[in-house]
């Protein structure tokens, strides 16, 4: 039983290796990237784009943090194009509520399974990913944890072999 489990896990991890590395030649890691210059340039219009929201924030604070409904009555123009999907703002993981197998985004799942820390940036904290994609990421992460626990249980901690 233990051997079967080990073989199944080994086969799965071998597939992971192929999926991750793409059966590629051993190119140098650093040579595959372009220059870092200008990565941290901040667009000149960045702050200007937030002018309306700055004004709204000022208005709200001056009025003692009134709620949306109260502000809508007092100054509807300020709120005309606001998006009230506030959950999307602070909950990067969003919902797995109502999530079904058909909703699985397998790319996001792979990020969670194979490379969680980077997938965290690509999917989990990316405000433009859908809730299904984020749920898929976390499911992938969870599957990875379980597989590794199974693997360690079957063959011991490979770190000790180094």
């Amino acid at each position: 039983m233990k051997n079967h489990t080990l073989k199944a896990i080994a086969a799965f991890l071998a597939l992971n290796i192929l999926f991750t590395t793409g059966v590629s030649a051993a190119n140098g890691i650093e040579n595959s990237f372009e220059s870092n210059e200008s990565v941290f340039d901040l667009e000149e219009d960045f702050y200007a784009d937030f002018a309306e929201l700055d004004q709204l924030e000022k208005e709200v604070k001056e009025n003692g943090l009134v709620d949306y409904d109260a502000l809508l009555q007092s100054n509807p123009d300020l709120l005309s194009d606001l998006n009230l999907s506030n959950l999307r703002t602070i909950n990067s993981a969003e919902a797995t509520e109502g999530f079904s197998f058909d909703d699985m985004d397998w790319g996001a799942f792979a990020w969670g399974l194979l490379c969680c820390p980077v997938g965290f940036f690509v999917v989990a904290i990316n405000g433009n990913k859908t809730s299904d994609q984020k749920a898929s990421f976390w499911i992938g992460w969870g599957v990875g944890v379980v597989l590794n626990i199974l693997y360690v249980a079957a063959v011991g901690n490979p770190i000790n072999d180094f």
């Binding site: 890691i29 990237f33 941290f40 709204l56």
Partner: protein, 230 residues
């Protein structure tokens, strides 16, 4: 088999990357917070309130005042949304807290965004007029992306996720550092994501930051009674 073991070890190290061994400087941080967003479709969002993070509880609590009064608790694998002390939504989450700016700041790991605890490979380090930038690369063959961290005066000033083609997917800027006790905290965090549907922008501002506030009247803000909802 050796390759298999190496890969497994690599995966394990990534999965358990959140197990930091850094020294904790403080246990609590709280702040007024403003979150402004502009979505690719042009819609905008503003949230105002307070945020509380407690290392012992390992929870982030948002008490939102605008646009609607709402309490959101991120703890363990759950996100709970409460309105008038009634459960509004209960969502699944995972591990967000370990990479939160609050936890990284309190543990003194913000300088590298905790990446030095994740076994990413430290790549090229280059100096520029503003400071130093360092590449952190997944330790796999032909990595499809890298993370670049920019630092100045021993503080993180930016982090970017860049494809191997050079295309920037996401970048964040950490600005207007404020010295509070033994830590420096960026009171302004800017984020830009480049997607197929357009550009997403976010500005998060912290003010009135306090550390290790254990006053009786504030304890419930750090640890709202959510036992009934967990």
């Amino acid at each position: 088999m050796n390759k298999l073991l190496l890969f497994s070890a690599f995966l394990l190290l990534f999965v358990y990357s959140n197990e930091s061994h850094a020294q904790r400087l403080y246990s609590r941080i709280e702040s007024d917070i403003s979150i402004k967003e502009i979505f690719p479709d042009g819609t905008k969002s503003l949230m105002l309130g307070k945020v509380f993070f407690d290392v012992e509880n390992n929870s982030i609590v948002y008490h939102i005042a605008f646009p609607e009064k709402e309490t959101m608790v991120l703890k363990d694998s759950l996100v709970l949304s409460l309105k008038d002390s009634v459960l509004n939504k209960k969502l699944s989450s995972s591990q967000l807290i370990d990479f939160s700016i609050y936890k990284l700041a309190l543990s003194g790991e913000l300088k590298t965004f905790g990446l030095d605890e994740t076994k990413f490979l430290l790549g090229r380090i280059s100096e520029n007029d503003d400071g130093v930038s360092s590449e952190w690369i997944p330790k796999i063959e032909n990595p499809p992306f890298k993370i670049i961290i920019s630092q100045a005066n021993n503080k993180i000033t930016g982090i970017a996720l860049v494809e191997s083609t050079g295309k920037i997917l996401n970048k964040q800027f950490f600005k207007k550092y404020q010295k509070i006790g033994r830590i420096s905290f960026p009171t302004e965090i800017l984020e830009i994501s480049y997607t197929g549907s357009g550009v997403y922008k976010k500005m998060m501002t912290h003010s009135e930051i306090k550390l290790d506030n254990y006053s009786d009247e504030i304890n419930s803000s750090y640890d709202p009674d959510i036992d009934a909802f967990e």
